[in-house]
Amino acid sequence: MSEAMHAAQFDSAAQQEEAATLGIWVFLATELMFFGPLFFGYYYGRSHFPDGFAAASRHTEVMLGTINTAVLLTSSMLMAIAGEARKANATRLATRMLLLVAALGIAFLVIKGIEYRHEWQERLFPGAGFFFPEHQHAAAARMFYFLYFGMTGLHALHLTIGIVMVLVFALGLSRGARRFANAERIEVAALYWHFVDAVWIFLYPILYLVGRSSG
């Protein structure tokens, strides 16, 4: 079958697949360094202004954040199924799963947008109009919301890129472009998608759950 062919520089299809997977893992390692400083910034703020960060975290939309976590975890499951289906040449199932993954990704962004609108209306965006009701924590809360918008914004940017990638493969597969949307490439897209999901797994507790039981 033509899909199993490999490029000239590789000895075998298996070696080519290993190289592609290694490439995306190295890229994800650099992505970790990209997100890392923001997490350290949060760690600094949380350890130096524990009460201020807890107070600020209590103003995030915890229900929407929890729903969004569930949406993203579910999308990751469907992405894993899509990868297995493509590998087993079940292209129709793979196409449907990819479309669902993209739909869940868009749902996540819509919910995130609703959250951003609430926060903008409550004047929690750390711009000139920033206002925090607990005045003693205002400076720390401003730092928290700076990180909140920075981290979730960078995450949303990554998710948008993932949605575009998944949609391109879904459309390619539905039009019968089996060589373009081969199992190896879908696996690479899946690894990226799971990484973006894993970043959110850590963003969720530090942005939404901190300080819920106190204050």
Binding site: E18, T21, F40, L73, D197, I201, Y204, L209, S213
Partner: protein, 112 residues
């Protein structure tokens, strides 16, 4: 659908059920008054969830040694940078910004 395929799908769904259970657990426990344990539980559950995603969805359980090494080195590197930056911030006291008016006259504290 072959037997092997349905087996793979079943495992993926089982991992998803575990992830959702952990999500409910971390959400629920965040409202219990556990003091510092709240943080430990939240971060611990996040680590377990990320591990489930990495091991099963990202196929680290069946990955070659080279891929595993790359994944672990990325985490070690991040831990190293966190550790080094931590020593920097942990050993410094917070200074008020120089142009801020001190709350008290400095002479009043030391008496001289």
């Amino acid at each position: 659908m072959t037997n092997l395929e349905s087996h793979a799908y079943r495992r993926i769904v089982l991992v998803w059920i575990a992830l959702m259970a952990l999500l409910l657990l971390t959400f629920g426990s965040a409202y219990l008054k556990l003091g510092a344990w709240n943080n430990a539980i939240n971060l611990g559950i996040a680590a377990v969830k990320a591990l489930l995603v990495a091991v099963f969805f990202m196929h680290l359980r069946s990955a070659s040694t080279m891929l595993r090494i790359v994944a672990v080195i990325a985490l070690l590197m991040l831990a190293l940078l966190f550790g080094l930056s931590h020593t920097d911030y942990a050993t410094r006291t917070m200074q008020r910004v120089p142009w801020q008016t001190p709350p008290k006259s400095q002479n009043a504290e030391g008496g001289g």
